[in-house]
Structures are given as structure tokens and as C-alpha cells.
């Protein structure tokens, strides 16, 4: 769409030297929303993290220094929640990319039913987290569909597996849900990337006598490198955003062993009402994901 315009010469941006009433008028709604509901909360959160913070009128908050941060770092459940989040990222990010890319390559190679497949694989992406979490809860219930299949249908075990009642399998179900819901998103961005790979590259390769697999590793993968890096960054951020699936499927149980970063923060804030602790924890979560994202960018720049 936009490349029709590229032949036209680019003009210099309109220079605004004086304070311009119209410009201010156009900027102000965005600045108010961004300033009041994003920037102010970022600053306020930092302040809160040094207090035993109370919310509500006529409530006194007491300055406690670094106590909230010390409490967070000494908390075994904090460590559990962060490690659950990191493992979730390590499991779901590569799985989504590999499966999504595989589906994209397959759909890219066919001629008929392309759009049908694309739509069907994309459906889990547009289904809300609340609904898919409840469906998975229903399937992985003790008397649910999956236990029926593995015990009475396939006779793999004689006893039910309490999927959502034990930490390891609880996290496994959450990861499975994350992968299942994310495949479609990856498929779409990789399909778009595959369409951008110049056909001449493949033609040259087939003259040289490379097989399909060779072509994939020597042409396709290097050509879509940027999209893969984009997916890694976005999915890592996504892993730190996990909340609804855990909250509705396990609720962090048993004994907070299936908490992830945000569910534990939410519990401390709105169940335990320890806002100071939760504010410090929020800051730590934001720092961790920012550091991960920045180091990914740094690493990828070297890689390029």
C-alpha cells in the first residue's frame, strides 16, 4: 500500500517554533491519558514500594525503607513464582515458534484451503483467556475428559491424574494452554514473513540441487530471522503477562506452588492487602522483563 508513495520526494517535517495552539490541542488528550494512567502510576508505584501502603481515605501509610524489597527477596513463594514464570517462558516460547513456523510452512506450501486453515488455526488466539482457561479446567478436571481418555479408553493408567491439583502437572497444563493458544499468532506472522522471501532464492537453490530441508535451513530460516527475533521478544513479554489462565485453573494452589509472577502480585495486593509488598514485587517483575527484553535486543544485534 505505502510503497506507491515512495517515489515521491520526502519533505522536511513542518517545524513548529512557537507554541502552537493546534498542536497542543491534538497532543493533550494523549498526554493526559498516558500521563495520568501510565506515567503517574509508574512513579507512584515506586513510591508505594517504600511504604507499608494503605489505600483509602484517611489511611496512614508508614515509610518502611527497603523492607518490602527485603521481604520479597526472602519470600520462598516469590522465588517459586518467578521460577514458574521463567520455566513457562522457556517451555512455551520455543514450542510456539517451532509449531507455529511448521504450520506456517505447511500452509504456505499448499494452494487450496489456505484461508480455511489459517482461520481455523487462528481461532484459539481470538478466544478469550477466561473461556479457554475454563475449557481447559473442564478437560483436565479429575472427572474430566482427559482422565477418561487415559484411564478407561487407552488404559494407560488405572488411577486418575489430578492434573490441576499438583504443582508440576498444574504448570504443565498452563504451559500447554499457552502453547495451544499461541500457535495461531505465530502462524500468521510467519506466513507473512514467508511471503516476503524472494522466490529467486529458492529457484537458485533448486538449480544448485538443494533438497527441501536444505532450502529451509539455508534460505527460509535466514530470510525470516527478523521475524523470529520479533516473536522471541513478544512471546517472552507475553510469558510475563500470564495471569488469567493460572488464576482460573489452579488459583495458585496447592500451597501457592503454581503461582506465577502476576498471580502472586495480585494475591498479595488484593487478597493479603499488602500493597507495599505487591508494589515492590511489581517493580521487580517490570525490571526482570525489561532486562530480559534489552538483553535479547543486545544479543540479536550481535547475531545480525
Amino acid at each position: 500500500m505505502s510503497h506507491d508513495y515512495q517515489i515521491l520526494p520526502r519533505r522536511k517535517k513542518k517545524q513548529i517554533k512557537k507554541i502552537n495552539f493546534q498542536l497542543i490541542f491534538l497532543l493533550i488528550p494523549g498526554l493526559i491519558v498516558f500521563g495520568l494512567f501510565t506515567i503517574y502510576p509508574i512513579v507512584k508505584l515506586f513510591v508505594m514500594s517504600f511504604f507499608d501502603w494503605q489505600i483509602g481515605f484517611e489511611q496512614k501509610s508508614i515509610f518502611v525503607g527497603l523492607k518490602n524489597y527485603i521481604n520479597v527477596f526472602n519470600d520462598p513463594i516469590f522465588r517459586k513464582a518467578i521460577s514458574n514464570t521463567l520455566i513457562y517462558a522457556l517451555v512455551t516460547v520455543p514450542s510456539q515458534i517451532i509449531i507455529g513456523l511448521l504450520v506456517a510452512v505447511l500452509i504456505h506450501s499448499i494452494k487450496r484451503f489456505k484461508i480455511t486453515f489459517r482461520v481455523l488455526y487462528y481461532l484459539p488466539v481470538i478466544t478469550s483467556w477466561v473461556i479457554v482457561a475454563l475449557v481447559f479446567k473442564y478437560i483436565f478436571n479429575n472427572e474430566g475428559f482427559l482422565n477418561y481418555v487415559i484411564t478407561d479408553l487407552l488404559h494407560l493408567t488405572t488411577n486418575y491424574i489430578p492434573w490441576l491439583d499438583q504443582p508440576s502437572t498444574g504448570m504443565f497444563v498452563a504451559q500447554l494452554l499457552g502453547i495451544w493458544k499461541g500457535i495461531g499468532w505465530n502462524m500468521v506472522i510467519f506466513l507473512a514473513a514467508l511471503q516476503g522471501v524472494p522466490l529467486e532464492l529458492y529457484e537458485a537453490a533448486s538449480i544448485d540441487g538443494g533438497g527441501k530441508f536444505k532450502q529451509f535451513f539455508y534460505i527460509t530460516l535466514p530470510s525470516i530471522k527478523n521475524t523470529i527475533l520479533f516473536a522471541v521478544v513478544m512471546l517472552s513479554i507475553g510469558a510475563f503477562n500470564v495471569f488469567t489462565s493460572i488464576q482460573l485453573m489452579t488459583g495458585g494452589h496447592p500451597a501457592h506452588q503454581t503461582e506465577v509472577a502476576l498471580t502472586w502480585m495480585y494475591y498479595k495486593a488484593f487478597e493479603a492487602r499488602d500493597f507495599g509488598y505487591a508494589a515492590a514485587l511489581s517493580y521487580i517483575i517490570a525490571m526482570i522483563i525489561t532486562m530480559i527484553t534489552l538483553s535479547q535486543f543486545k544479543y540479536f544485534r550481535k547475531f545480525k
Binding site: S2, R11, L26, P29, I110, L123, I131, L134, V135, N141
Partner: protein, 276 residues
């Protein structure tokens, strides 16, 4: 030739297996919603029910005030989407077309906030909602939703506006128009594909948002769909899956219809960010 044909067939076969695996949970959702509520844990569980009934749908439509949650979600999602579309497009217009003091800092800050999870700011945002007396009001949801989608929307629309040649703007200025005229007559119409693409995502986000609505809304008649669906589950626990899934299916319908009509926008909105 025969080998090539077999190879193609294999690809379709793999894709089909994949579709069956990915859509099983959705089929199970729909079939459970169509089953009589008493037979939900009927043994053995079946993917396709023996007896199909609309009893669950009848119950949630006539007995529970489900339509109210539907309406609440619609109002919240529509207001958030429209506000976000205007605010982010005007902000994007300023960032793409003008130089003003602090511009680079503003853009860098907007980009940086895209990294941190929106939920980490939920405590100060909750305090703001308490201060402005927005607790238990639909109006308490909208500003936070707009703030959450603003950075990404601005980023996407700004990129698109930069592809529109400034010659049009110049022509308007020469004719005596001002920045508003340019925004209204050039930017809004020409950038509408990108505004539409982000608006679909913004609507979807507001339609299905869970944690903030859970925090702010308590009253039954103020609840949005995700809160009603998950809350209904919590109240009646294990016996009422049929009702829960009937609600889920109804809340999914508008999303799926929109998706089928505008799937090109879903794709373009996603991929334009990914390929750069």
C-alpha cells in the same frame, strides 16, 4: 508426478490432524453447552452429545440477566475503542508530522512502556480509581483500557502516517488549512486502514479483559462478560458447566463473526509490525 501428489496429500493430512487437535477444546466447549445440564459428568464423557438441547441457552438468556453483562461489555469495548482510536491517531499525527520539544523523549517513553506488563501498574491505577470514585463503575474500566492500548496503537498508526506523503498536507496548508484540517481531511481517511486494524485488537482486548474488571467491578449488574462467566463458575462451582459454556459461546459469537469478516485486518495489523 505421483510422488509429488502423495507429498501434497501428506501436507494436507498433517494440517488436518493439527486442526483437529487445536479445535477439540472448542468443539468440547460447544458440545457441553448443548448438553442437558444434568448429564455433564455423564460417564463416559462424549465429544458429541447424544441429546442436543438449547436448555442452557434458554436459562442464561431468560433466567440470568446475562444480556446486561453483554451490553456492559459492548459499551465498555466500544467506548474504549473509539477513544483509543481518536487519542492515539492524533498523538501519532503529532509525532509523525511535527517537531516539538520533548518529542523524542515522549516517543521513547511510549515505546518503553510497551515492555512492562500492564498489570504491574494495577495498584496505583486502583488507587486512582478509588480517588476518582470510579470503583464499581463501567467508567472506571475505560480510561485504563485506553491507557493500556495507547502505546501500541500510537506506534502502529505513527508508522503508517509516516508512509503518507506530506505533499497532501502542504496542499492543505497552502489553501489556508490548519493542523486540524490536515488531521481531519488527510490523516484520518488515509490512515484509516491502520486505525481499523488496531481498533479490532483494542475492541477484542476490552471485550475479554479480566484482571482489571475483576478488581474494579463488584456489582452484578455492572459486570462485564469475563467477570460474569468466571463469577458464575465460582458461585455454582462444578455443577453448572453447561450454563458457563453457553455464556462463553454467546460471548464468542461477535468475536468470531468480526474475525471472519475482517480477517484481512487481523493479519495486516499483526504482520506489519512483525516484518520490519
Amino acid at each position: 508426478m505421483m510422488r509429488k501428489y502423495k507429498y501434497k496429500l501428506l501436507i494436507y493430512f498433517i494440517l488436518l490432524i493439527g486442526v483437529i487437535i487445536t479445535s477439540t477444546p472448542m468443539i468440547y466447549l460447544i458440545s457441553t453447552s448443548l448438553r442437558p445440564n444434568g448429564s455433564l459428568y455423564e460417564y463416559p464423557p462424549k465429544l458429541i452429545p447424544n441429546k442436543v438441547t438449547l436448555e442452557n441457552y434458554r436459562y442464561i438468556i431468560f433466567k440470568v440477566d446475562f444480556y446486561r453483562s453483554f451490553l456492559n461489555s459492548f459499551i465498555v469495548a466500544l467506548c474504549s475503542t473509539l477513544l483509543a482510536a481518536f487519542i492515539s491517531s492524533s498523538l501519532a499525527f503529532c509525532l509523525a508530522r511535527f517537531d516539538f520539544p520533548g518529542k523524542r523523549l515522549l516517543f521513547a517513553t511510549i515505546m518503553a512502556t510497551m515492555i512492562i506488563p500492564g498489570m504491574t501498574l494495577i495498584i496505583p491505577q486502583f488507587e486512582l480509581a478509588v480517588t476518582f470514585k470510579l470503583i464499581n463503575k463501567l467508567g472506571g474500566l475505560i480510561p485504563v483500557y485506553v491507557a493500556w492500548v495507547l502505546p501500541f496503537s500510537t506506534f502502529m498508526i505513527k508508522g503508517f502516517i509516516e508512509g503518507i506523503p506530506t505533499d497532501f498536507d502542504e496542499a492543505i496548508y497552502i489553501d489556508g488549512g490548519n493542523a486540524f484540517t490536515v488531521y481531519r481531511t488527510i490523516i484520518l481517511p488515509l490512515a484509516s486502514p491502520s486505525i481499523a486494524a488496531v481498533s479490532i485488537f483494542n475492541f477484542l482486548m476490552a471485550w475479554e479483559e479480566y484482571p482489571w474488571a475483576l478488581t474494579v467491578i463488584n456489582d452484578l449488574e455492572k459486570r462485564t462478560l469475563p467477570i460474569t462467566i468466571s463469577g458464575f463458575f465460582g458461585q455454582h462451582n462444578f455443577t453448572q458447566w453447561g450454563y458457563v459454556f453457553a455464556m462463553s459461546v454467546i460471548s464468542l459469537l461477535p468475536v468470531i463473526i468480526t474475525f471472519l469478516f475482517f480477517q484481512q485486518y487481523f493479519v495486516s495489523g499483526l504482520s506489519s509490525g512483525a516484518i520490519k
